[in-house]
């Protein structure tokens, strides 16, 4: 009633002032003063309206007292009353509420407010600010439920993305789509994080829209696009940084080494190796191996749009050298990108995405026995780096070589050329239906070259390729022939081609104002083709890396040269449908079903159906809901099935790709044998996920999201050990892949966000997320107690397992209970420990039989798990009068790490904790005696397991943006300088280089073989916009 009155009143005023129409003009800008094009300017209660131009300017005729309403997506609507002035400039504030943010879901978008599934989004800006080489590194700690662990800190090194826990012993990588194009997790190196508009993560059953590939979650990455009616905006960015190692291990110096070795040899009943132990500090191998290394990036982009087209074009160069290996561990990336959208005809829109990447990388041996850092840690300090002008040999240790010599002789290079693109046509048939057809492709050409020069690392070293220190080649006798085996180069060219053809129809209609129905139905065809050709050429002249090419090979008669090739194909055909309904934007329900057919399975089980259902209730929209402190409150629930078909090709059938070779007439003869034993009944893994969630906003600025999920994965695709009787264990033979085993992940995810905007100009954004995870194996294949994982030490026992009732990859070994202090203690103990001597680790008798059994499992128990109980991320961003400060902290708590980089050899160097060793009764109850003799101290026990929890300040950035008054004089719109540090400090009790120890295979997670640590980086950079 009131409204009507006002209306009448307004009408009257209108009428009375009708004659005095004047021309109003002005500029609309955002809070930073950037002009806003495309803002709709409407005279209230009229049909008179206009849109701002590229400079944010508008002209409109209005009368005094008229109200002008300025509205633009993503900004708070502004209303101004026309007064006497003919100029009305408007500054619009971006919309504080994140509820209206648009989130990309499968085959469509949704407002965050309306989501029924557990979906998280990270905006491009917060990724950009991290200055990380890879997008997945930038995501660590940003999203609840997403755990990122690092395989290697080396340039070009990869990470593992695990959404809501590890759910299979097989492939755990999520499905990653960049602008709808399949992009595999390993290939993420190719993507420039600066090109990203948003990263959207589908975590729960609603990911089921992607069916048989969705069980590990789905990550949808959108790259930057332009906007129509916007002026070209140029962005130039650059940074340069210096990296160094954040930590060196505490190793023995020469004097300490000599004393401890003498003691160990004496205890082993051997002559003392050092007559004089006063040897000073000796060689610091770590100092020699670690170096400072540069990291740098330069990028430029332009975005904009005309009335019918928009574009975003960019290019960048990134280069990083390694803190170990320098240019031998190098990664360089060139990116070029054209995103272009245009209206081909009314209602018909073409979207074109083209991303080109060129990568050059070099790697050194890392992350295992024989890696540079493993050698560095175990090389003894009494050996100089060089002797007589050559690298020293470290003759006293088997299999450990001079790490400097190793780096100098390593030539591993790779080049990647990758084109990712999409052509998409969308046709708005009418206001209810939109049809979309698209073709996407991801083509990568990967070249590798590996030069193996003739090298002599010292007598008996396994990596020797020469016969002696003179670098004489090994001579081979084949029949009557004598062949020199000189330096060789192996080269490979592999191509990987993924393509998808998709068509879908989106439908939206509202009935009787309150009933909104939306639907999506579509088809998808995804194919994958890869091919490779490789060769090895021997006798590269002069042992010269400059001649390292197969074309230069001088192998006599080509006898040694070797070639290989492979080709694979994989296909997936799918139909999917989604139906959504909501009533009054209050009650939401959505259902999805997808039918997938995968060529990875035999005819018996080729087709799978993956349904899911989700619902939400925005309780804060209810009349009975008192507003109070809570502005918004939504409950969500979802349930769905999804699958995992990533098991390798043709595992359902038996192929003759085993190895069969024997020697007749002194020559190796090749035959045929079955490779992987067939299983025609093979089918996909199924993940069944239930999710309950709450989204809330309170006190006007605090966003809160909580999820509780139960994720059961069943029919795990396993290649478990099978009975010897099947004959699967010949060369190149593998057991059949079968469906057996279940895993359960349960967890709670909380996300808290806080936005503060003060009139003084102080803006603060705080985000905190935490994930509690419980991972448990609930079933293993029949007949197996467990599936063994990673070994401990050299030729040692299996230290990790996949076993019912335990987390995936838990550590199994002997539990220790101090140190045997005396013979009397050993003799009088109720538990007999065979071979125990005073100073040895005292093991716990788990089965209570009064005996420590080393021959079987009866006294081994769980002594650790590589899976964190809690992961947390804290992100802070604030700006004030041109200054901006941001920080990112990541914490992973409760996981353990196996210290597996100590070589148990008489002469290998040791960590300095050995200074605290047992030397007599009462000296220590923690560190065992040293001996070169027989001892059980080296069997896998909790002595080798450390708490891997850590809290890391991953990034802190301080920037300053010049005031506009200054930049306007410079004819640019903004100029920002910043300094930043990555990996500035880490709080951890872990002794190793880096507690962030990941592994692609979940059974090898948390096993530290001397991981290449993530560098500490200090950098400075600038961003210019004009």
């Amino acid at each position: 009633m009131k409204k009507i009155l006002w209306f009448c009143l307004a009408m009257c005023i209108n009428c009375s002032l009708w004659a005095q129409t004047i021309a109003i003009s002005g500029t609309v800008t955002d809070e930073t003063g950037e002009p806003l094009p495309g803002v709709s300017v409407l005279k209230v209660n009229s049909t008179v309206g206009t849109v701002t131009d590229l400079d944010g300017r508008y002209n409109i005729n209005a009368s005094q007292g008229d109200q002008l309403r300025f509205s633009f997506i993503g900004f708070t609507t502004v209303t101004r009353t026309v007064g006497s002035s003919t100029t009305i400039d408007v500054e619009m504030d971006s919309d504080v509420s994140s509820l209206d943010e648009v989130v990309v879901v499968g085959y469509g978008t949704a407002k965050k407010k309306e989501l029924t599934g557990a979906t998280s989004q990270v905006r491009g800006e917060s990724i950009e600010k991290m200055n990380m080489p890879r997008v997945d590194q930038a995501l660590q700690g940003k999203i609840a439920g997403v755990n990122i662990s690092t395989n290697s800190g080396a340039p070009g090194g990869t990470s593992n993305i695990r959404i809501r826990g590890v759910s299979t012993s097989g492939q755990n990588n999520p499905l990653i789509l960049v602008d709808g194009v399949i992009y595999d997790a390993e290939g993420l190196n190719a993507l420039n994080p600066n090109d990203i508009e948003s990263v959207n993560v589908l975590k729960d059953g609603t990911a089921g829209i992607y069916g048989v590939r969705a069980a590990n979650g789905v990550i949808l990455i959108e790259t930057k696009k332009g906007a129509v009616n916007s002026k070209p905006s140029f962005n130039v960015g650059a940074y340069y940084g210096v990296q160094s190692t954040a930590r060196q291990l505490d190793l023995l110096n020469s004097r300490e080494y000599a004393i401890l070795k003498n003691e160990a040899f004496a205890a082993g009943g051997q002559p003392l190796p050092f007559g004089n132990t006063n040897l000073g500090l000796g060689t610091d191998w770590q100092n020699a191996v670690f170096a400072e290394a540069p990291i740098q990036e330069y990028n430029m982009s332009v975005t904009g749009g005309t009335a019918k087209s928009s574009y975003s074009i960019g290019g960048s160069y990134f280069a990083q050298e390694g803190i170990v290996g320098g240019p031998k561990a190098n990664f360089e990336r060139y990116n070029a990108r054209i995103n272009f959208t245009t209206e081909l005809a009314p209602r018909v829109r073409l979207t074109n995405v083209l991303l080109y990447t060129h990568e050059q990388s070099s790697t050194i041996p890392q992350g295992g026995i024989g890696s540079v850092l493993y050698n560095t840690v175990n090389a003894y300090p009494t050996e100089p780096l060089r002797i007589d002008g050559r690298y020293s040999y470290l003759d006293n240790v088997n299999d450990i070589i001079n790490p400097l010599a190793q780096m100098a002789n390593t030539y591993n290079d790779a080049w990647v050329n990758k084109i990712v693109g999409k052509e998409e046509i969308s046709y708005e048939i009418n206001d209810k239906f939109t049809a979309v057809g698209r073709a996407g492709y991801n083509y990568a050409l990967v070249d590798t070259k590996n030069f193996n020069p003739l090298v002599w690392y010292g007598t008996g070293k396994a990596p020797n390729t020469a016969r002696n220190a003179n670098l004489d080649p090994v001579i081979l006798n084949i029949g009557e022939l004598e062949i020199e085996r000189g330096a060789n180069v192996s080269e490979a060219r592999n191509t990987f081609f993924d393509y998808n053809l998709e068509a879908f129809l989106n439908y939206a209609e509202t009935f009787d104002e309150d009933h909104r129905v939306r639907g999506t139905a579509g088809v998808s065809y995804i194919g994958n083709r890869s091919m490779g050709l490789s060769g090895v050429g021997f006798n590269i002249p002069n042992n010269d890396p400059a001649l390292a090419d197969i074309s230069a090979n001088q192998a006599a008669g080509g006898f040694l040269n070797n070639v290989g090739s492979f080709q694979t194909r994989q296909r997936l055909t799918s139909v999917f449908a989604r139906a959504e309904y909501d009533y009054k934007q209050r009650y939401f329900i959505s259902g999805i079903v997808r039918r997938d057919g995968s060529s990875n399975f035999g005819a018996n089980n080729r087709i799978g159906y993956f349904p899911s259902i989700s619902t939400a209730w925005i309780i804060s929209e209810e009349d009975f809901f008192g507003s109070g402190a809570i502005d918004f409150l939504k409950f969500r629930a979802s349930y769905g099935l999804s699958g995992n078909d990533q098991i390798g090709l043709f595992r359902y059938r038996g192929l003759l790709n085993g190895q069969a070779s024997y020697v007749f007439n002194d020559l190796i003869v090749n035959g045929a044998a079955i490779g992987t034993t067939s299983n025609p009944d093979l089918k996909w893994e199924t993940t069944e996920q239930t999710n309950f969630g709450v989204d809330a906003t309170f006190f006007g600025g605090i966003d809160f999201t909580a999820n509780y999920f139960i994720k059961n994965t069943r029919d795990l695709l396993f290649q478990p050990e099978v009975s010897a009787l099947l004959g699967s264990y010949g060369a190149g033979g593998f057991p059949p892949v079968i469906n057996a085993g279940n895993v359960r992940n349960r967890g709670i995810e909380l996300e808290l966000g806080y936005d503060l905007r003060r009139a003084s100009g102080l803006n603060i954004r705080l985000d905190y997320n935490v994930t509690f995870l419980d991972n448990k194996v609930t079933s293993v294949p029949t007949g197996l107690d467990f599936i063994p994982g990673a070994p401990f030490g050299v030729g040692g026992s299996v230290a990790t397992r996949f076993e019912v009732g335990y987390p995936i990859g838990y550590f199994v070994g002997y539990q220790t209970d101090g140190i045997w202090q005396s013979e009397e203690e050993i003799a009088s103990s109720s538990v007999a420990q065979p071979g125990a001597r005073p100073g040895d680790l005292r093991f716990v008798d788990q089965n209570g039989d009064g005996q420590i059994n080393f021959g079987d499992d009866s006294d081994r128990t769980m002594i650790g798990s590589p899976i964190p109980n809690v992961i947390m991320g804290f992100n802070m961003a604030m700006d004030f009068k041109g200054f901006d400060l941001s920080a990112n902290v990541y914490a992973a708590l409760g996981q353990d790490i196996i210290r597996n980089y100590e070589r148990q050899q008489p002469y290998a160097n040791m960590l300095s904790y050995n200074l605290e060793r047992w030397t007599g009764p009462g000296t220590t109850d923690t560190y065992p005696r040293l001996t070169t003799g027989q001892t059980r101290n080296t069997v896998f026990s909790d002595f080798y397991v450390e708490d891997g929890s850590f809290v890391r300040l991953r990034n802190v950035t301080l920037g300053y943006t010049l005031p506009r008054t200054v930049t306007e004089n410079l004819k640019i719109s903004s100029l920002r300088f910043y300094v930043a540090a990555n990996n500035l400090f880490t709080l951890t009790r872990y002794m190793g280089f880096d507690p962030d120890v990941g592994a692609g295979n979940p059974l090898f997670a948390g096993v530290d073989n001397g991981i290449y640590p993530q560098a500490r980086t200090v950098m400075g950079g600038l961003n210019i916009k004009f």
Binding site: R653, N665, F854, T935
Partner: protein, 490 residues
Amino acid sequence: MRKIYLSIILAMGIMVTSCDYLLDIEPEYTQDAENFFDTPEDYERALVGVYDLLQTSYLHIWIGEIASDNSIAGGESVNDSRGLHEIDNMTHGGVNTELRDIMRWNYTGIARANYIFEHKDKIDFEGKDQILAEAKFLRAYYHFVLTTYFGDVPLIVDRRLSLSEVSASERTPRSQVYAQVEADLNDAINVLPDQQAEIGRITKGAAIALLGKVQLYQNKFSEAAQTLDRIISQNQAGYDLFPDFETLFYVINENNSEDVFTVQYSGQQGGDYGCFVCLQGNPAVGFHGVRQYTGPFYGDGNSYNLPTQDLYDFFSENDPRREGTILDIDAFISSQPNAGEISYAVGAGGHTGYFNNKYIKRLDERGLPDDDLTSPLNYRVIRYADVLLMAAEAFQQSGNDERARTELNKVRQRVDMPAITSSGNQLLQDIYRERRLELSGEGYRFFDLVRTGRASDVIQGFVPGKHELFPIPQVEIDLAGGNWQQNPNY
């Protein structure tokens, strides 16, 4: 209008289901297991696959010696091949990598042979009989190894077991396994030639010798004597003792007249520690090498399988076989002109000062890197001296001391040791002694001690009624459905 949309959706559905044919893709450039045996070459190639597993016989050099009083396990530490250390100490149980390898690899050989027999009637061609005969020999050998180690073992003949059949499998009584082994060997003997064009292929002599050994292991002495005599008396292949014992185990003297049944190795293919079954080289040789040795003649290795003082002292000083069998490393070094420059290291897995001088890495006998794994040195599974000693034992046990002495003294004569004149039980003991003197370091000692009932007298920790057989790996019992009974007292 709505009907049109409905029909579009319907059309999409039909389109995709009809697109399922796209999923019918075949693997490229590779043959399918069920689509094979179409040419004689296919049979030949499958046979190479059966031969392949012979190269895993290097394990017997380790286990047969380390389990006995001849040698200790050695190595970098007691955790370096823990299974061997346990066998050394007679503490081995149901968890043992090396024993599991024996089981897996020999059954793989059997499965690969049976794969041929499954398809033996698919085509006919000249030479098929010989392929089948070689396959039968190999199947017999693998079954023989299995029953020697484990006693009763599932006998699988002429077909491969499927995944679903495993849980119903049972351990076949040893006598039935032996019967099948003998039948297979007799079939092979009937077809195989005395000499093969290609070195390395199984000959009739090898099959007869193995049959004799199999009979001896069953204490069928007169049958064994008769079988082995076929080689000695007829000697169609011209077997003879190689004159120089000390260089008998050099690569240059391979495949000589003394070789009856030999596993061929090659140094021409590299290898890595991740896959021992993939190797074409003999890993035992590099592993026996002197740890971090720098010096002449020998290559460095992993100090495995170290002969004991007891074995060294067993030889008389003038028996050249002592030097031929055992390397006394310190004595060797001090005899060198540049002794001061020669060095080696002692592994924490044990040290005796002695190394296996038959199968040891020598500098000019190395294969490709990593040459710890790629020795070309063949493993002589049965050499003529063994045939003579087995015959001597079989003759003695079946009452023919005269022939027993004759064959025994042939072996002694080669190394200029005085002839044995004893008879009766003393002669039998002399034959046993001679087996240790002649064959130590070759992987027979433990099995000889067991089959002649002497193991508990000389092996520390040997429990009669238990250690005659190795335990079936527990995991294999579990994987086979858990129905098998473990060997007694394990």
